[in-house]
Protein backbone atom coordinates (compact mmCIF):
# COMPACT_ATOMS: atom_id res chain seq x y z
CA UNK A 1 0.00 0.00 0.00
CA UNK A 2 2.78 2.41 0.88
CA UNK A 3 4.30 4.28 -2.02
CA UNK A 4 7.46 5.04 -0.07
CA UNK A 5 9.26 2.17 1.61
CA UNK A 6 11.76 2.89 4.37
CA UNK A 7 14.86 0.69 4.69
CA UNK A 8 13.65 -1.10 7.78
CA UNK A 9 10.27 -1.74 6.19
CA UNK A 10 11.82 -3.63 3.24
CA UNK A 11 12.09 -7.13 4.76
CA UNK A 12 8.44 -6.96 5.79
CA UNK A 13 7.25 -5.81 2.39
CA UNK A 14 9.31 -8.53 0.70
CA UNK A 15 7.81 -11.26 2.88
CA UNK A 16 4.32 -9.85 2.40
CA UNK A 17 4.80 -9.89 -1.37
CA UNK A 18 6.06 -13.47 -1.24
CA UNK A 19 3.01 -14.41 0.80
CA UNK A 20 0.64 -12.80 -1.67
CA UNK A 21 2.42 -14.57 -4.52
CA UNK A 22 2.07 -17.96 -2.77
CA UNK A 23 -1.61 -17.34 -2.10
CA UNK A 24 -2.19 -16.57 -5.76
CA UNK A 25 -0.30 -19.71 -6.84
CA UNK A 26 -1.81 -21.96 -4.19
CA UNK A 27 -5.04 -22.56 -6.12
CA UNK A 28 -5.68 -26.33 -5.91
CA UNK A 29 -2.29 -26.99 -4.33
CA UNK A 30 -1.79 -28.40 -0.83
CA UNK A 31 0.44 -25.62 0.59
CA UNK A 32 -1.82 -24.11 3.29
CA UNK A 33 0.68 -25.24 5.92
CA UNK A 34 3.51 -23.38 4.26
CA UNK A 35 1.38 -20.25 3.93
CA UNK A 36 0.52 -20.36 7.62
CA UNK A 37 4.22 -20.60 8.45
CA UNK A 38 5.02 -17.51 6.42
CA UNK A 39 2.07 -15.63 7.88
CA UNK A 40 3.40 -16.27 11.36
CA UNK A 41 6.85 -15.22 10.20
CA UNK A 42 5.50 -11.91 8.84
CA UNK A 43 3.66 -11.18 12.07
CA UNK A 44 6.73 -11.92 14.19
CA UNK A 45 8.99 -9.89 11.96
CA UNK A 46 6.62 -6.91 12.16
CA UNK A 47 6.42 -7.09 15.91
CA UNK A 48 10.18 -7.43 16.23
CA UNK A 49 10.86 -4.51 13.95
CA UNK A 50 8.19 -2.12 15.16
CA UNK A 51 8.70 -2.75 18.84
CA UNK A 52 12.40 -2.09 18.71
CA UNK A 53 12.61 0.95 16.47
CA UNK A 54 15.54 3.25 17.05
CA UNK A 55 14.82 6.91 17.64
CA UNK A 56 16.03 7.77 14.17
CA UNK A 57 13.69 5.16 12.65
CA UNK A 58 10.80 6.79 14.49
CA UNK A 59 11.84 10.16 13.08
CA UNK A 60 11.64 8.56 9.62
CA UNK A 61 8.15 7.21 10.37
CA UNK A 62 7.10 10.64 11.65
CA UNK A 63 8.16 12.06 8.28
CA UNK A 64 6.76 9.23 6.18
CA UNK A 65 5.23 10.83 3.07
CA UNK A 66 2.14 8.61 3.38
CA UNK A 67 1.55 9.53 7.02
CA UNK A 68 -1.80 11.17 7.77
CA UNK A 69 -1.61 14.97 7.96
CA UNK A 70 -3.86 17.52 9.66
CA UNK A 71 -6.47 17.56 6.88
CA UNK A 72 -6.64 13.74 6.87
CA UNK A 73 -7.52 13.81 10.55
CA UNK A 74 -9.99 16.63 10.05
CA UNK A 75 -11.78 14.63 7.32
CA UNK A 76 -11.71 11.38 9.27
CA UNK A 77 -12.49 12.68 12.76
CA UNK A 78 -14.71 15.75 12.44
CA UNK A 79 -18.11 16.66 10.99
CA UNK A 80 -19.31 19.98 9.60
CA UNK A 81 -15.76 21.34 9.23
CA UNK A 82 -15.68 24.87 7.93
CA UNK A 83 -12.25 26.26 7.20
CA UNK A 84 -11.47 29.83 8.23
CA UNK A 85 -8.72 31.82 6.61
CA UNK A 86 -6.41 34.71 7.31
CA UNK A 87 -4.90 36.64 10.20
CA UNK A 88 -6.90 39.83 9.38
CA UNK A 89 -3.61 41.61 9.09
CA UNK A 90 -1.29 40.32 6.41
CA UNK A 91 -2.51 37.19 4.70
CA UNK A 92 -3.57 33.57 4.84
CA UNK A 93 -0.83 31.08 5.69
CA UNK A 94 -1.46 27.80 3.85
CA UNK A 95 0.89 25.92 6.19
CA UNK A 96 -1.74 26.33 8.89
CA UNK A 97 -5.31 25.04 8.59
CA UNK A 98 -7.96 26.34 11.00
CA UNK A 99 -11.68 25.98 11.29
CA UNK A 100 -14.78 25.15 13.27
CA UNK A 101 -15.75 21.51 13.43
CA UNK A 102 -17.60 18.92 15.45
CA UNK A 103 -15.85 16.01 17.09
CA UNK A 104 -18.66 13.76 18.24
CA UNK A 105 -20.94 16.14 20.14
CA UNK A 106 -18.18 18.66 20.87
CA UNK A 107 -18.06 21.86 18.86
CA UNK A 108 -14.40 22.88 18.65
CA UNK A 109 -11.89 25.12 16.91
CA UNK A 110 -9.41 22.82 15.22
CA UNK A 111 -6.00 24.18 14.19
CA UNK A 112 -3.20 22.25 12.55
CA UNK A 113 0.07 22.58 10.71
CA UNK A 114 -0.31 21.17 7.22
CA UNK A 115 2.32 19.58 4.98
CA UNK A 116 1.89 18.76 1.31
CA UNK A 117 2.15 15.30 -0.21
CA UNK A 118 3.91 16.10 -3.48
CA UNK A 119 6.09 18.89 -4.82
CA UNK A 120 3.17 21.02 -5.92
CA UNK A 121 1.18 20.76 -2.71
CA UNK A 122 4.35 21.11 -0.66
CA UNK A 123 5.12 24.41 -2.35
CA UNK A 124 1.53 25.48 -1.66
CA UNK A 125 1.81 24.43 1.99
CA UNK A 126 5.40 25.70 2.33
CA UNK A 127 6.40 22.18 3.52
CA UNK A 128 4.35 22.74 6.66
CA UNK A 129 6.56 25.62 7.81
CA UNK A 130 4.39 28.48 9.12
CA UNK A 131 5.11 32.16 8.62
CA UNK A 132 4.19 34.74 11.30
CA UNK A 133 0.71 35.15 9.79
CA UNK A 134 0.13 31.43 10.38
CA UNK A 135 0.70 31.83 14.12
CA UNK A 136 -1.39 34.99 14.10
CA UNK A 137 -4.24 33.30 12.22
CA UNK A 138 -4.17 30.51 14.81
CA UNK A 139 -4.25 33.04 17.64
CA UNK A 140 -7.09 35.04 16.09
CA UNK A 141 -9.20 31.90 15.87
CA UNK A 142 -8.25 30.71 19.35
CA UNK A 143 -9.49 34.06 20.67
CA UNK A 144 -12.70 33.54 18.70
CA UNK A 145 -13.08 30.10 20.29
CA UNK A 146 -12.52 31.68 23.71
CA UNK A 147 -15.17 34.31 23.03
CA UNK A 148 -17.77 31.64 22.29
CA UNK A 149 -16.61 29.08 24.84
CA UNK A 150 -15.38 26.48 22.34
CA UNK A 151 -12.52 24.12 23.18
CA UNK A 152 -9.42 24.26 20.96
CA UNK A 153 -7.69 21.23 19.43
CA UNK A 154 -4.30 21.76 17.80
CA UNK A 155 -2.40 19.27 15.64
CA UNK A 156 1.37 19.77 15.44
CA UNK A 157 3.29 18.60 12.39
CA UNK A 158 6.04 20.90 11.21
CA UNK A 159 9.76 20.72 10.38
CA UNK A 160 9.96 24.21 11.93
CA UNK A 161 8.82 27.81 11.63
CA UNK A 162 9.88 29.14 8.22
CA UNK A 163 13.39 30.64 8.42
CA UNK A 164 12.89 33.21 5.68
CA UNK A 165 13.80 36.86 5.26
CA UNK A 166 10.20 38.11 5.16
CA UNK A 167 9.29 35.89 8.13
CA UNK A 168 11.93 37.77 10.13
CA UNK A 169 10.71 41.14 8.87
CA UNK A 170 7.17 40.31 9.93
CA UNK A 171 8.29 39.15 13.38
CA UNK A 172 8.41 35.35 13.43
CA UNK A 173 9.77 35.42 16.98
CA UNK A 174 7.12 37.84 18.23
CA UNK A 175 4.32 35.79 16.64
CA UNK A 176 5.45 32.60 18.38
CA UNK A 177 6.11 34.34 21.70
CA UNK A 178 2.68 36.00 21.64
CA UNK A 179 0.99 32.63 21.11
CA UNK A 180 2.86 31.08 24.04
CA UNK A 181 1.63 33.83 26.36
CA UNK A 182 -1.93 33.94 25.04
CA UNK A 183 -2.35 30.16 24.91
CA UNK A 184 -1.19 29.96 28.52
CA UNK A 185 -4.12 32.15 29.61
CA UNK A 186 -6.81 31.20 27.07
CA UNK A 187 -10.00 30.55 29.03
CA UNK A 188 -11.16 27.45 27.13
CA UNK A 189 -9.76 23.91 27.10
CA UNK A 190 -6.82 23.28 24.75
CA UNK A 191 -5.85 19.77 23.66
CA UNK A 192 -2.57 19.54 21.74
CA UNK A 193 -1.64 16.51 19.61
CA UNK A 194 1.82 16.02 18.14
CA UNK A 195 0.88 13.96 15.07
CA UNK A 196 4.19 13.93 13.17
CA UNK A 197 7.11 16.31 13.49
CA UNK A 198 7.22 18.62 16.48
CA UNK A 199 10.20 20.75 15.55
CA UNK A 200 11.11 23.37 18.11
CA UNK A 201 9.45 26.77 18.56
CA UNK A 202 7.69 26.34 15.24
CA UNK A 203 5.62 23.51 16.74
CA UNK A 204 5.38 24.90 20.27
CA UNK A 205 3.93 28.16 18.89
CA UNK A 206 0.64 26.24 18.70
CA UNK A 207 1.49 23.75 21.43
CA UNK A 208 0.59 25.17 24.84
CA UNK A 209 -2.40 23.36 26.30
CA UNK A 210 -4.08 21.49 29.14
CA UNK A 211 -3.35 18.05 27.74
CA UNK A 212 -0.47 17.22 25.43
CA UNK A 213 -1.00 14.05 23.42
CA UNK A 214 1.65 12.52 21.19
CA UNK A 215 1.44 9.80 18.59
CA UNK A 216 3.63 6.78 19.21
CA UNK A 217 5.96 7.47 16.28
CA UNK A 218 5.99 11.26 16.33
CA UNK A 219 9.02 13.26 17.44
CA UNK A 220 9.17 16.48 19.49
CA UNK A 221 12.30 18.40 20.39
CA UNK A 222 14.16 21.65 20.49
CA UNK A 223 15.92 20.98 17.18
CA UNK A 224 15.89 18.42 14.36
CA UNK A 225 18.47 15.61 14.56
CA UNK A 226 20.09 16.89 11.34
CA UNK A 227 20.57 20.44 12.59
CA UNK A 228 21.73 19.18 15.97
CA UNK A 229 24.29 17.00 14.22
CA UNK A 230 25.54 19.89 12.11
CA UNK A 231 25.98 22.17 15.12
CA UNK A 232 27.32 19.82 17.80
CA UNK A 233 29.20 17.34 15.60
CA UNK A 234 29.98 19.93 12.91
CA UNK A 235 28.80 17.45 10.28
CA UNK A 236 25.48 16.28 8.84
CA UNK A 237 26.50 12.62 9.32
CA UNK A 238 25.55 12.17 12.97
CA UNK A 239 21.78 12.47 12.75
CA UNK A 240 21.23 8.97 14.19
CA UNK A 241 23.38 9.78 17.23
CA UNK A 242 21.74 13.18 17.56
CA UNK A 243 18.28 11.58 17.52
CA UNK A 244 19.39 9.20 20.28
CA UNK A 245 20.93 12.01 22.35
CA UNK A 246 17.92 14.32 22.02
CA UNK A 247 15.47 11.76 23.51
CA UNK A 248 12.76 13.00 21.19
CA UNK A 249 10.23 10.14 21.16
CA UNK A 250 6.88 9.92 22.91
CA UNK A 251 8.26 7.22 25.18
CA UNK A 252 11.14 9.53 26.20
CA UNK A 253 8.95 12.57 26.80
CA UNK A 254 6.22 11.05 28.95
CA UNK A 255 8.42 10.58 32.07
CA UNK A 256 9.86 14.09 31.53
CA UNK A 257 6.29 15.46 31.75
CA UNK A 258 6.65 17.18 28.37
CA UNK A 259 3.64 15.16 27.19
CA UNK A 260 0.70 13.66 29.09
CA UNK A 261 -0.38 10.73 26.96
CA UNK A 262 0.90 8.51 24.18
CA UNK A 263 -1.52 7.66 21.37
CA UNK A 264 -0.74 4.21 19.95
CA UNK A 265 -0.47 3.80 16.19
CA UNK A 266 -1.56 0.81 14.08
CA UNK A 267 1.23 -1.78 13.78
CA UNK A 268 3.75 -0.46 11.27
CA UNK A 269 2.82 3.18 11.80
CA UNK A 270 -0.02 5.62 11.18
CA UNK A 271 0.58 5.53 7.41
CA UNK A 272 -0.45 1.84 7.25
CA UNK A 273 -4.05 2.61 8.15
CA UNK A 274 -5.34 6.19 8.13
CA UNK A 275 -8.87 5.20 9.11
CA UNK A 276 -7.83 3.15 12.11
CA UNK A 277 -5.38 5.85 13.22
CA UNK A 278 -8.12 8.46 13.06
CA UNK A 279 -10.46 6.24 15.09
CA UNK A 280 -7.86 5.79 17.82
CA UNK A 281 -7.17 9.53 17.99
CA UNK A 282 -10.86 10.43 17.91
CA UNK A 283 -11.70 8.28 20.91
CA UNK A 284 -8.76 9.78 22.83
CA UNK A 285 -9.88 13.33 21.97
CA UNK A 286 -13.46 12.59 23.05
CA UNK A 287 -12.18 11.35 26.40
CA UNK A 288 -9.91 14.35 26.94
CA UNK A 289 -12.56 16.89 25.94
CA UNK A 290 -15.18 15.26 28.18
CA UNK A 291 -12.84 15.69 31.17
CA UNK A 292 -11.70 19.24 30.36
CA UNK A 293 -15.10 20.83 29.72
CA UNK A 294 -16.05 20.04 33.33
CA UNK A 295 -13.32 22.30 34.71
CA UNK A 296 -14.05 26.00 35.40
CA UNK A 297 -12.08 28.37 33.11
CA UNK A 298 -10.05 30.05 35.88
CA UNK A 299 -9.04 26.73 37.37
CA UNK A 300 -8.17 25.42 33.93
CA UNK A 301 -5.83 28.36 33.26
CA UNK A 302 -4.18 28.14 36.69
CA UNK A 303 -3.58 24.42 36.27
CA UNK A 304 -2.20 24.93 32.75
CA UNK A 305 0.26 27.59 33.92
CA UNK A 306 1.41 25.48 36.90
CA UNK A 307 1.78 22.45 34.63
CA UNK A 308 4.25 24.26 32.36
CA UNK A 309 5.92 25.99 35.32
CA UNK A 310 6.70 22.52 36.68
CA UNK A 311 8.60 21.28 33.61
CA UNK A 312 12.39 21.19 33.83
CA UNK A 313 15.15 19.51 35.80
CA UNK A 314 17.91 21.25 37.77
CA UNK A 315 19.91 21.02 40.99
CA UNK A 316 19.94 23.46 43.92
Amino acid sequence: MAKTILDFEKPIIELEEKLAEMKRASDGLEIDGEIAVIETKVRQLKENIYHSLTRWQKVQLARHPDRPYTLDYIYNITDNFVEMHGDRNFGDDKAVVCGLAKIGDFKVMIIGQQKGRDTKSNLYRNFGMPNPEGYRKALRLMKLAEKFGLPVVTLLDTPGAFPGLEAEERGQAEAIARNLLEMARLKVPIVVVIIGEGASGGALGMGVGDRILMLENAWYSVISPESCSSILWRSWDFKEQAAEALKLTAEDLLPLKVIDRIIPEPLGGAHKDHTKMAEILKSALLEELANLVKIKPDKLVDARIEKFAGIGEYQE
Binding site: A161, A177, S200, G201, V222, Y314
Partner: protein
Protein backbone atom coordinates in the same frame (compact mmCIF):
# COMPACT_ATOMS: atom_id res chain seq x y z
CA UNK B 1 42.52 58.64 18.12
CA UNK B 2 42.86 61.89 20.05
CA UNK B 3 42.98 60.36 23.49
CA UNK B 4 45.39 57.69 22.46
CA UNK B 5 47.85 60.17 20.92
CA UNK B 6 47.78 62.36 23.97
CA UNK B 7 48.57 59.42 26.17
CA UNK B 8 51.40 58.29 23.96
CA UNK B 9 53.21 61.57 24.46
CA UNK B 10 53.17 61.09 28.22
CA UNK B 11 53.24 57.39 28.87
CA UNK B 12 55.85 55.32 27.21
CA UNK B 13 55.47 52.08 29.18
CA UNK B 14 51.90 51.46 28.08
CA UNK B 15 52.29 52.14 24.41
CA UNK B 16 50.03 49.70 22.60
CA UNK B 17 51.66 47.68 19.86
CA UNK B 18 50.15 47.91 16.38
CA UNK B 19 48.32 44.61 16.14
CA UNK B 20 48.71 42.10 18.94
CA UNK B 21 47.99 43.56 22.34
CA UNK B 22 49.93 41.33 24.69
CA UNK B 23 49.87 43.14 28.00
CA UNK B 24 46.06 42.84 28.31
CA UNK B 25 45.63 46.52 29.14
CA UNK B 26 44.53 47.54 25.68
CA UNK B 27 41.48 46.64 23.69
CA UNK B 28 40.87 46.99 20.01
CA UNK B 29 37.36 47.74 18.79
CA UNK B 30 36.50 44.89 16.42
CA UNK B 31 34.32 47.22 14.39
CA UNK B 32 36.47 50.31 13.79
CA UNK B 33 39.88 49.19 15.01
CA UNK B 34 40.17 51.92 17.62
CA UNK B 35 42.64 51.01 20.35
CA UNK B 36 41.56 51.94 23.86
CA UNK B 37 42.84 51.42 27.35
CA UNK B 38 40.78 48.92 29.38
CA UNK B 39 40.00 51.56 32.02
CA UNK B 40 38.62 53.81 29.35
CA UNK B 41 36.45 51.06 27.90
CA UNK B 42 35.10 50.43 31.36
CA UNK B 43 34.23 54.04 32.11
CA UNK B 44 32.56 54.15 28.71
CA UNK B 45 30.44 51.15 29.86
CA UNK B 46 32.15 48.80 27.41
CA UNK B 47 31.29 50.76 24.32
CA UNK B 48 33.71 52.11 21.73
CA UNK B 49 34.65 55.75 22.25
CA UNK B 50 34.93 56.27 18.54
CA UNK B 51 32.16 54.28 16.80
CA UNK B 52 29.75 53.51 19.66
CA UNK B 53 30.11 49.78 19.09
CA UNK B 54 28.61 47.98 22.11
CA UNK B 55 30.88 45.20 23.33
CA UNK B 56 29.30 42.05 24.73
CA UNK B 57 29.22 42.12 28.51
CA UNK B 58 27.67 39.92 31.15
CA UNK B 59 25.38 39.99 34.15
CA UNK B 60 27.99 41.41 36.55
CA UNK B 61 28.48 44.46 34.32
CA UNK B 62 24.78 45.01 33.67
CA UNK B 63 23.88 44.75 37.36
CA UNK B 64 26.62 47.30 38.06
CA UNK B 65 25.31 49.59 35.34
CA UNK B 66 21.61 49.38 36.21
CA UNK B 67 21.25 48.65 39.91
CA UNK B 68 21.94 51.26 42.61
CA UNK B 69 25.17 50.44 44.40
CA UNK B 70 24.89 48.05 47.32
CA UNK B 71 21.23 47.17 46.77
CA UNK B 72 21.48 44.00 44.69
CA UNK B 73 20.43 40.68 46.25
CA UNK B 74 20.79 37.60 44.11
CA UNK B 75 18.09 34.89 43.86
CA UNK B 76 18.68 31.16 43.46
CA UNK B 77 22.44 31.57 43.61
CA UNK B 78 23.17 27.86 43.76
CA UNK B 79 20.94 26.55 41.00
CA UNK B 80 22.77 24.60 38.35
CA UNK B 81 22.11 22.20 35.51
CA UNK B 82 21.18 18.58 35.96
CA UNK B 83 21.64 16.22 33.03
CA UNK B 84 18.11 14.92 32.49
CA UNK B 85 18.81 13.37 29.07
CA UNK B 86 22.29 12.00 29.90
CA UNK B 87 23.25 13.97 26.83
CA UNK B 88 26.45 13.28 24.98
CA UNK B 89 27.70 14.59 21.65
CA UNK B 90 31.43 14.86 21.08
CA UNK B 91 31.56 15.64 24.79
CA UNK B 92 29.39 14.78 27.77
CA UNK B 93 26.96 17.55 28.76
CA UNK B 94 28.08 17.24 32.39
CA UNK B 95 31.68 17.80 31.26
CA UNK B 96 30.70 20.77 29.12
CA UNK B 97 28.89 22.33 32.09
CA UNK B 98 31.83 21.63 34.40
CA UNK B 99 34.32 23.21 31.99
CA UNK B 100 32.14 26.24 31.42
CA UNK B 101 31.66 26.82 35.13
CA UNK B 102 35.44 26.73 35.57
CA UNK B 103 36.09 29.04 32.64
CA UNK B 104 33.41 31.64 33.46
CA UNK B 105 32.91 31.51 37.21
CA UNK B 106 29.18 31.35 36.50
CA UNK B 107 26.83 28.46 37.27
CA UNK B 108 24.56 28.95 34.26
CA UNK B 109 23.49 31.42 31.56
CA UNK B 110 21.30 33.70 33.67
CA UNK B 111 21.49 35.46 37.03
CA UNK B 112 18.46 36.96 38.73
CA UNK B 113 17.86 39.09 41.77
CA UNK B 114 16.27 42.15 43.23
CA UNK B 115 17.60 45.63 43.83
CA UNK B 116 16.87 49.29 43.36
CA UNK B 117 16.93 51.14 40.05
CA UNK B 118 17.11 54.86 40.75
CA UNK B 119 15.46 54.18 44.08
CA UNK B 120 12.72 51.86 42.77
CA UNK B 121 12.47 48.23 43.81
CA UNK B 122 12.79 46.00 40.77
CA UNK B 123 13.33 42.34 39.94
CA UNK B 124 16.03 41.86 37.36
CA UNK B 125 17.41 38.97 35.32
CA UNK B 126 20.40 39.11 33.03
CA UNK B 127 21.74 36.46 30.69
CA UNK B 128 25.42 35.65 30.19
CA UNK B 129 26.27 34.89 26.59
CA UNK B 130 29.64 33.41 27.52
CA UNK B 131 27.90 30.51 29.27
CA UNK B 132 27.26 28.06 26.37
CA UNK B 133 26.12 30.89 24.10
CA UNK B 134 23.59 32.17 26.61
CA UNK B 135 21.54 29.09 25.88
CA UNK B 136 18.27 28.50 27.72
CA UNK B 137 17.87 25.18 29.48
CA UNK B 138 15.98 24.25 32.63
CA UNK B 139 18.06 26.51 34.88
CA UNK B 140 17.54 29.63 32.77
CA UNK B 141 13.83 28.88 32.44
CA UNK B 142 13.36 28.11 36.13
CA UNK B 143 15.29 31.14 37.38
CA UNK B 144 13.42 33.52 35.07
CA UNK B 145 10.05 31.93 35.85
CA UNK B 146 10.75 32.27 39.59
CA UNK B 147 11.95 35.86 39.18
CA UNK B 148 8.73 36.64 37.31
CA UNK B 149 6.71 35.02 40.08
CA UNK B 150 8.59 37.06 42.71
CA UNK B 151 7.89 40.24 40.75
CA UNK B 152 4.22 39.23 40.78
CA UNK B 153 4.10 38.48 44.51
CA UNK B 154 6.11 41.56 45.46
CA UNK B 155 4.38 43.84 42.91
CA UNK B 156 7.75 44.91 41.50
CA UNK B 157 8.56 45.73 37.88
CA UNK B 158 10.50 43.03 36.03
CA UNK B 159 13.51 43.70 33.82
CA UNK B 160 15.15 40.97 31.75
CA UNK B 161 18.32 41.59 29.75
CA UNK B 162 18.73 38.99 27.03
CA UNK B 163 21.78 37.79 25.15
CA UNK B 164 21.31 34.30 23.89
CA UNK B 165 21.63 32.01 20.94
CA UNK B 166 18.36 30.32 21.89
CA UNK B 167 17.26 27.15 23.61
CA UNK B 168 19.93 24.70 24.82
CA UNK B 169 20.16 21.57 22.69
CA UNK B 170 21.57 19.37 25.44
CA UNK B 171 18.30 19.40 27.36
CA UNK B 172 16.18 18.66 24.29
CA UNK B 173 12.43 19.18 24.65
CA UNK B 174 12.91 20.34 28.26
CA UNK B 175 14.72 23.42 26.93
CA UNK B 176 11.89 24.01 24.48
CA UNK B 177 9.37 23.87 27.32
CA UNK B 178 11.20 26.69 29.13
CA UNK B 179 9.85 29.01 26.43
CA UNK B 180 6.30 28.04 27.40
CA UNK B 181 7.11 28.16 31.11
CA UNK B 182 8.56 31.68 31.13
CA UNK B 183 5.77 32.95 28.84
CA UNK B 184 3.10 31.39 31.08
CA UNK B 185 4.50 33.20 34.14
CA UNK B 186 4.65 36.44 32.13
CA UNK B 187 0.95 35.99 31.31
CA UNK B 188 0.23 36.13 35.05
CA UNK B 189 2.41 39.23 35.43
CA UNK B 190 0.55 40.88 32.55
CA UNK B 191 -2.84 40.01 34.10
CA UNK B 192 -1.67 41.67 37.34
CA UNK B 193 -0.67 44.81 35.37
CA UNK B 194 2.93 44.72 36.54
CA UNK B 195 5.35 46.14 33.98
CA UNK B 196 7.90 43.97 32.21
CA UNK B 197 10.78 45.65 30.44
CA UNK B 198 12.75 43.50 28.02
CA UNK B 199 16.23 44.63 26.99
CA UNK B 200 17.70 42.99 23.90
CA UNK B 201 21.47 42.93 23.56
CA UNK B 202 23.79 41.37 21.03
CA UNK B 203 22.78 38.68 20.13
CA UNK B 204 19.20 37.72 20.99
CA UNK B 205 18.00 34.90 18.76
CA UNK B 206 16.07 31.63 18.61
CA UNK B 207 13.85 30.43 21.44
CA UNK B 208 14.82 33.32 23.69
CA UNK B 209 13.52 35.87 21.18
CA UNK B 210 10.49 33.66 20.51
CA UNK B 211 9.47 33.78 24.17
CA UNK B 212 10.15 36.27 26.97
CA UNK B 213 12.46 38.61 25.03
CA UNK B 214 9.62 39.62 22.67
CA UNK B 215 6.96 39.85 25.38
CA UNK B 216 7.97 43.08 27.08
CA UNK B 217 5.45 45.84 27.69
CA UNK B 218 8.44 47.84 26.61
CA UNK B 219 11.19 46.40 24.44
CA UNK B 220 14.51 48.26 24.42
CA UNK B 221 17.39 47.23 22.17
CA UNK B 222 21.06 48.14 22.31
CA UNK B 223 22.45 49.70 19.11
CA UNK B 224 23.34 47.23 16.36
CA UNK B 225 22.35 44.17 18.45
CA UNK B 226 21.51 41.11 16.35
CA UNK B 227 17.87 40.27 17.04
CA UNK B 228 15.90 37.55 15.30
CA UNK B 229 14.38 34.11 15.32
CA UNK B 230 16.39 32.16 12.76
CA UNK B 231 20.13 32.80 12.53
CA UNK B 232 21.43 34.74 9.51
CA UNK B 233 23.31 31.70 8.15
CA UNK B 234 20.18 29.53 8.12
CA UNK B 235 18.16 32.26 6.42
CA UNK B 236 20.86 32.76 3.81
CA UNK B 237 20.82 29.02 3.08
CA UNK B 238 17.03 29.02 2.83
CA UNK B 239 16.67 31.90 0.43
CA UNK B 240 19.88 31.28 -1.49
CA UNK B 241 21.00 34.88 -1.68
CA UNK B 242 22.86 37.44 0.42
CA UNK B 243 21.05 39.20 3.21
CA UNK B 244 20.56 42.97 2.99
CA UNK B 245 22.95 45.26 4.87
CA UNK B 246 21.89 45.66 8.49
CA UNK B 247 19.44 42.74 8.37
CA UNK B 248 18.26 41.66 11.85
CA UNK B 249 20.16 44.49 13.52
CA UNK B 250 18.40 46.55 16.20
CA UNK B 251 17.78 49.45 13.79
CA UNK B 252 16.25 47.07 11.21
CA UNK B 253 14.06 45.45 13.86
CA UNK B 254 12.95 48.91 15.06
CA UNK B 255 12.09 49.87 11.48
CA UNK B 256 9.92 46.75 11.18
CA UNK B 257 8.06 47.57 14.36
CA UNK B 258 9.30 45.02 16.87
CA UNK B 259 11.16 47.15 19.41
CA UNK B 260 10.03 50.37 21.07
CA UNK B 261 13.34 52.15 21.23
CA UNK B 262 17.09 51.81 20.91
CA UNK B 263 19.14 53.01 23.83
CA UNK B 264 22.87 53.59 24.12
CA UNK B 265 24.18 51.65 27.08
CA UNK B 266 25.16 54.91 28.80
CA UNK B 267 21.51 55.96 28.75
CA UNK B 268 19.97 52.57 29.49
CA UNK B 269 19.38 53.09 33.20
CA UNK B 270 17.76 56.48 32.65
CA UNK B 271 15.65 55.11 29.79
CA UNK B 272 14.31 52.25 31.92
CA UNK B 273 13.68 54.59 34.81
CA UNK B 274 11.69 56.94 32.56
CA UNK B 275 9.47 54.12 31.37
CA UNK B 276 8.90 52.85 34.90
CA UNK B 277 7.89 56.37 35.87
CA UNK B 278 4.90 56.06 33.54
CA UNK B 279 4.15 52.38 33.99
CA UNK B 280 3.59 52.24 37.70
CA UNK B 281 2.37 49.27 39.68
CA UNK B 282 -0.83 49.99 41.54
CA UNK B 283 -0.16 49.00 45.14
CA UNK B 284 -2.81 47.52 47.42
Amino acid sequence: MAWFKRQRQNITTETPPKDNLPDGLWEKCPQCGEIMHKKQVETNLWTCIKCNNHFRIGSAEYFAILIDEGTFKEYDKKMRSADPLKFEDTKKYTQRIENTIKATGLLDAVRTGTGKLMGRDVVIGCMDFKFIGGSMGSVVGEKLARATHRALKGKMPLIIISSSGGARMMEGALSLMQMAKTSARLAQLADAKIPFISVLTDPTTGGTTASYAMLGDVIIAEPNALIGFAGPRVIKQTIGRDLPEGFQRAEFVLDHGFVDTISHRKELKQTISNFLDFLQVKKG
